[in-house]
């Protein structure tokens, strides 16, 4: 029997209509908008000013503090201005506007497609290169990768887990990357293993991507210590804690990091970016984005530079359908709804999902009938309907006791609820409030 995680889980229809479509390029527009905060942590300080000329790969934003990631120009041209622009979060944040002129790259970047296998760098040198390249978790969480690969003092990584699950319906960008960049990813894995000083890595892939499982299985024969595991299709298996449970049977305790059970998880796209950064000196300036949806004419996987408006990607997929009611950056379960098609692609944009008007609005909520379906599907073993009530009545100590802070916001509860209750909306609010109460308590103590 195929492995999977042990608590909860749902089975939304996977709708991966773009799975067979090869990654395609997209024309670079006349202007790009590159946000200075594309990651979890402090936004970058701009190191360019109006009128500066930049090349592809030029550093334009520098980290502030440890938990942050450098930003590089994805195009060559002239800096128009540094100004506020609406990003996927819906907020107006600092961004660098660049007028595109030609496509000239920094000389240090090796643009050849040759596979470079050997890496003689030390762990420290690898981490420095990853940090310099501004790599973040590309599965959507956008946590700075060099931070994740630096285990806190006293902990020792034992196993590297590679996330090729892509459990969100519709999305196929990781799948395509796995099919088209298999060897690069394998080399990337050996580099990360070296950086972490571990001798074991498992690649977890859900069983709806049999071609990728086969391809990696074959390739892994040449790489000692790396194995491939087919996983039973179940959402949210791409969640870090769920994936570790599925592959190793170890459950990360409440409030702890994966390293507490000796595991470090990296997404396949991130591993590819690591390969390119370490072996080819290429900073993270482009990524594969799935553009898809029920009425999208040509669902596809696009290799897009950071900073290109999502509207351009939708045009490349056959244009914005007339039925459009909602545009989501990311997958349908955890993605963010965009207010405009001008929002630029960033390091964390795994997909653009266009949802028709008829499916865009939620139905009115009814009273909870206490069917407990949300309780049985919650992958963290929480009681979502209780957490919603506790939040509604602002019982913060109760919500904390019921471990509201464990919620991974996978959305399975709201997805499942037969009474159309917006469980996650409330839980998210409650979680934020409880987290701030906990922080205040810690500072006062």
């Amino acid at each position: 029997m195929l492995k999977t995680f042990r608590i909860g889980g749902i089975h939304p229809k996977d709708k991966k209509v773009s799975a067979g479509n090869a990654i395609q390029p997209i024309a670079i527009p006349n202007q790009v908008i590159i946000p200075l905060g594309q990651h979890i942590g402090a936004p970058c300080q701009p190191v360019v000013k109006k009128g500066d000329t930049v090349k592809v790969g030029t550093l334009i934003g520098k980290t502030v503090g440890f938990v942050s990631a450098n930003i590089h120009s994805s195009v060559s041209g002239t800096v128009l201005k540094i100004d506020k622009a609406v990003d996927a979060s819906g907020y107006r944040r600092d961004a660098v506007f660049i007028k595109v002129e030609g496509d000239e790259w920094e000389e240090s970047v090796d643009r050849s497609s040759d596979l470079k296998k050997e890496c003689n760098l030390s762990s420290k040198e690898i981490l420095d290169k990853i940090a310099a390249a501004g790599i973040v978790g590309m599965g959507g969480a956008t946590f700075p990768t060099h931070v994740k690969l630096t285990p806190p003092p006293g902990s020792k990584p034992e196993i590297l887990i590679i996330n090729g699950v892509e459990c969100e319906p519709w999305l196929t960008s990781d799948h395509r990357v796995m099919m088209e960049k298999t060897e690069e990813i394998m080399v990337g894995i050996t580099i990360v293993m070296k950086a972490l000083n571990v001798d074991k890595a498992i690649i977890g892939i859900e069983n709806n991507k049999k071609d990728a499982i086969e391809k990696f299985g074959k390739s892994a024969e040449n790489y000692p210590g790396i194995t491939v595991e087919a996983l039973k299709v179940q959402y949210p298996q791409g969640g870090e804690k769920q994936l570790i449970d599925a592959l190793t049977g170890r459950q990360v305790p409440s409030g702890a990091l994966p390293i507490s059970v000796g595991a470090v998880v990296q997404n396949v796209g991130t591993v590819l970016a690591i390969y390119e950064a370490v072996q080819k000196n290429k900073p993270l300036i482009e990524r594969v984005v799935t553009v898809t949806g029920k009425d999208v004419k040509q669902p596809c996987n696009i290799l897009s530079r950071v900073g290109i408006p999502v509207g351009n990607l939708i045009d490349a997929a056959g244009g914005l359908p007339e039925t459009t009611g909602k545009i989501v950056s990311g997958g349908p379960m955890m993605g963010k709804a965009l207010a405009s098609t001008d929002v630029p692609v960033t390091k964390g944009t795994s997909g653009i999902l266009v949802i028709p008007t008829l499916e865009a609005k939620r139905k009115a909520m009814k009273d909870c009938i206490r069917c407990a379906k949300c309780v049985s599907i919650c992958p963290m073993g929480l009681n979502p309907t209780l957490l919603m009530n506790l939040t509604e009545f602002e019982v913060w100590d109760g919500a904390e006791k019921q471990r509201i802070t464990d919620c991974i916001e996978c959305g399975s509860c709201s997805y499942t609820c037969p009474a159309d209750r917006p469980l996650l909306d409330y839980i998210r609010l409650g979680k934020g409030r409880v987290n701030s109460i906990i922080r205040t308590r810690k500072t006062n103590a």
Partner: protein, 321 residues
């Protein structure tokens, strides 16, 4: 275009599951038992079930619209279930005005006075049945003989559980009880038909196995232990399983979403409690039948059970593999 985009928090898709789907799922699961009732009691079964549904739906519509002044919610199907279950729990020759009172109590008092579906503490059909049993004990405990009975002059007949304590020699065979042609309330007839319904509910994931199985297991173990020491019919686990309202209660009434616990652990405790109280009432109580009282009592304990049982949390079982 820009202004038309909907912006809302994730998730952006829904399973499509609705309250109606679950309620109509329960109704479909009740079809086999209803067909058995039609076969045994003929037209009476149809009339009493139809009337009970009509009363329940009608009262709900009128009370929600004119007393609570809200949009009526009868289309969710829950009032239909209450009607069918109440009809299944009463003798088929019950006077219609008594039936109407039972429906009014079930819908008006047990359900809507608490705020309607989702907010009631007690299962409306069970509450309605117990209201009738206490208020009209005579009418509620005389059952018509099945039309399929061989003796033509049988007008009324005691139920299996009625005979169990006083005249065990009159018991029908276990096979009769399982297939369902003994005397009793409408929907209690055939254990087989009710188990078919259980199969459907489990297959369609309307309910989980925890409550029905824990009730049946508790009844079997409890009476089984007594039967080992004293093998008389009164202690026979199979008779207890296949008679009276046990199957109907365990599968359709105890599993009511609203009034049963939310966690697996809680469901097992709740089911065990129902099984235990049922047997205790059947063996040592004044009433021959105890399922309704057992469910009502455990309904009252449900909030407490919910409070003391938490789901199995992620990270609590750390197995190093």
């Amino acid at each position: 275009m820009e202004n038309k985009l909907v912006v809302s928090p994730s998730p952006h898709i829904h399973s499509g599951d609705t309250i109606e789907k679950n309620m109509y799922g329960v109704l479909i699961a009740l079809i086999p038992a209803f067909l058995v009732a039609l076969y045994v009691f003929r037209l009476d079964a149809l009339i009493i079930t139809a009337l009970a549904v009509l009363f329940c739906v009608g009262f709900e519509y009128l009370i929600v619209k004119y007393v609570m002044k809200k949009t009526p919610t009868v289309s969710d199907g829950s009032a239909i279930i209450t009607g069918v279950l109440l009809a299944f729990n009463i003798p088929s020759n019950l006077p219609i005005w008594i039936l109407a009172l039972g429906c009014l109590f079930a819908i008006g008092v047990a359900k809507l006075s608490f705020g309607g579906l989702g907010n009631n503490i007690f299962n409306p059909a069970i509450a309605g049945r117990i209201f009738l049993l206490i208020s009209f004990p005579a009418q509620m405990t005389v059952w018509p003989a099945p039309e399929t009975a061989t003796t033509i002059d049988a007008v009324t007949s005691a139920t299996v559980l009625g005979n169990l304590k006083s005249t065990p020699e009159l018991l029908p065979s276990l096979q009769t009880m399982f297939l369902g042609t003994e005397a009793g309330s409408l929907g209690e007839m055939s254990a087989l038909a009710l188990l078919l319904g259980l199969g459907w509910l489990l297959w369609k994931k309307v309910i989980t196995w925890h409550i029905p199985v824990s009730i049946m297991a508790t009844v079997t173990i409890f009476t089984g232990i007594l039967y080992i020491f004293n093998p008389i019919p009164l202690y026979n686990p199979l008779i207890h399983l296949f008679s009276g309202g046990l199957m109907l209660g365990a599968i359709f009434m105890a599993t009511d979403y609203v009034t049963s616990p939310m966690t697996k652990k809680g469901m097992l405790i709740y089911g065990a409690g129902i099984g235990f109280i049922t047997v205790a009432i059947r063996l040592w109580g004044a009433y021959p039948e105890g399922v309704s009282f057992a469910i009502l009592l455990m309904n009252a304990l449900t909030p407490l059970i919910n409070n003391y049982t938490t789901p199995k949390r992620f990270g609590e079982v750390v197995k190093h593999g």
